[in-house]
């Protein structure tokens, strides 16, 4: 099965490689501007947040939200194009590949893309002073990858359900944007009312941020296993659900 999943992964990698420069610029440009604009600009007025310099607070958050965005875009728009427009999946299904292999390959690829773009952002964060503890900072990468798997799996579920590209707007407005704003990327979760905090605890980005921030800053790490488990559970359940929904859609 590993070889079959890698065949799907490799196909997407080969396409990416052709336009790697453009793709990297996109993945990397937005977060870079956030760090520069908010980290420096807002940081100047805020000074510290949660006991650490705002640039460091923000950098760990942006790293997670970038992992989310990169995997989400790949799992929605790109995967949908391959599933519904180009019929790439159908071509694959006429070979020994099955839908589970294809969905797994897509998720793995989207997580790889998160990893690539976040590695670049991590370097920028390091240069801009957003990393307080360079010794543990490399651990950010496995966290990014796990987050990538988690958000890609959820995106594949949405992709398998979507009648058209327009459908993705619901997912962005109802989940991605709220996560971006309320899961601790820009300010500590404690700033939210209790009810909102409880809801945020159910969302995967909260756990990605909670895991990531202590790795890049001097803040202490709590409940690491819980955060890992939540991200892994979203990835696993998302994968199973995405395969089931894609089967219902494509194997008629």
């Amino acid at each position: 099965m590993a070889a079959r999943i890698l065949a799907v992964w490799r196909r997407n990698f080969m396409v990416w490689r052709k336009l790697a420069a453009v793709s990297l610029l996109g993945n990397f440009g937005d977060p870079f501007l956030y760090l520069l604009g908010l980290g420096y600009g807002l940081g100047l007025y805020i000074g510290k947040m949660g006991g650490i310099p705002y640039m460091a607070f923000l950098a760990s958050g942006i790293l997670c939200s970038s992992a989310m965005n990169t995997a989400t875009f790949e799992g929605l728009y790109s995967a949908f194009t391959r599933m519904n427009q180009q019929h790439t999946w159908e071509g694959m299904m006429a070979t020994p590949l099955g839908l589970a292999d294809i969905v797994a390959g897509e998720i793995l690829w989207a997580a790889t893309k998160s990893l690539i773009s976040c590695a670049a952002i991590l370097i920028v964060a390091l240069l801009l002073g957003g990393v307080q503890t360079p010794v543990t900072a490399w651990l950010a990468l496995p966290v990014v990858f796990l987050s990538g798997l988690c958000f890609a799996a959820i995106a594949l579920v949405v992709c398998a359900l979507a009648p058209s590209y327009d459908f993705f707007i619901y997912y962005f407005t109802l989940l991605v944007t709220p996560m971006f704003l309320f899961c601790g990327v820009f300010y500590p979760l404690a700033a939210l009312p209790h009810a909102a905090q409880a809801v945020a605890q159910l969302l995967p980005l909260t756990h990605a941020v909670a895991l990531m921030r202590p790795l890049l800053t001097t803040l202490p790490l709590h409940h690491a296993w819980l955060h890992l488990a939540v991200l892994a559970a979203y990835a696993a359940v998302g994968f199973v659900l995405a395969v089931r929904l894609a089967s219902r859609r494509l194997l008629r």
């Binding site: 799907v8 159908e90 494509l250």
Partner: protein
């Protein structure tokens, strides 16, 4: 039948409570070209998709190389030319073959020589580095055929392989398919074109509304369902006029729009009578599969 590549016994398919394949039985012997004919919506593509595992079988026994339809190991032994172009637009012609080979577990060093060979087989050697988007419809279809052969399959399934192509492109594809048959491949072909079926198929079945209407070789089908000759009459002739022309002859007549089709064992006498009617346009020809097909499935439009 033992030794059959494909065997169907009471195969059924239901979509949303509607039965689209209603218990069909057939066998496909190795090394032949087997044609599945039928009007739009007859169930041709569904039969192929079920065989590939892309559509679950609702009932009956459907086997490929003795294993259940859709089996993963079996998919490694077949090649598929889909009706719809699903080539990878992000890759060149050659890359399409190499990348597809990987889905069968073939590494580039195994796939590369094979890809070159297939490009030449498909007469695409000059276009190996072209993007797929620059290919004509006929070239794309040839590339799809080349791609379907990358795993050296024993069975190749072609779903309307020449629909929408110009005559040159179509004839080239026919030559290539005959070449595959000479190499011992089994071909399963769906088509709307009776000429194509007549050119390529050793055995045929005519499908309608999910049922098999007739089967046999093109010759057998013609013999069983239509007379050997037909005269088509056009040009302001009345029913009575046609009646008079056929008087005393053993002719079966069909009236469609402005044309009369007069079928018979020997139409020479009818032809000589027609020649004496001024203004009458008539064509005398041997019957073909199209006559069989229209006889079996009727002449109303299928939308």
């Amino acid at each position: 039948m033992s030794g059959a590549v494909v065997s169907a016994r009471g195969v059924r398919k239901r979509f949303d409570g509607r039965e689209v394949i209603c218990g069909v039985d057939f066998d496909i012997r190795p090394g032949i070209c087997f044609g599945i004919l039928g009007p739009n919506g007859a169930g041709k593509t569904t039969l192929i998709r079920m065989l590939l595992g892309m559509s679950p079988v609702s009932g009956g026994d459907y086997t490929l190389f003795g294993r259940p339809a859709g089996d993963r190991e079996v998919r490694a032994r077949i090649g598929v030319v889909p009706q719809m172009d699903n080539l990878d637009p992000d890759f060149t012609v050659r890359q399409n073959l190499i990348v597809y080979a990987r889905y069968f577990g073939l590494l580039p060093r195994q796939a590369e020589p094979r890809a070159e060979e297939l490009l030449s087989f498909a007469e695409l050697s000059q276009r190996g580095d072209s993007p797929v988007s620059s290919l004509s419809g006929g070239m794309k279809r040839r590339l799809l055929i080349a791609r379907s052969l990358i795993n050296d399959p024993d069975l190749v399934m072609l779903d309307e392989p020449t629909t929408g192509l110009d005559p040159q492109a179509r004839h080239l594809i026919w030559q290539r398919l005959r070449e595959l048959k000479r190499r011992g491949k089994t071909l399963v072909l769906t088509t709307h074109y009776m000429e194509e079926a007549e050119q390529l198929c050793d055995e045929l079945m005519v499908l309608e509304h999910g049922r098999i209407l007739a089967r046999g070789s093109p010759g057998q089908l013609k013999q069983a369902h239509v007379e050997p000759e037909v005269v088509e009459l056009r040009g302001g002739i009345s029913d009575a006029g046609v009646e008079e022309l056929c008087l005393g002859l053993d002719i079966r007549r069909e009236h469609v729009g402005d044309t009369w089709f007069c079928y018979g064992q020997d139409a020479r006498l009818l032809v000589s009578r027609c020649a004496e009617v001024p203004g009458l346009i008539f064509v005398h020809r041997p019957t073909n599969l199209e006559d069989v097909f229209l006889r079996l499935t009727g002449r109303e439009l299928r939308d």
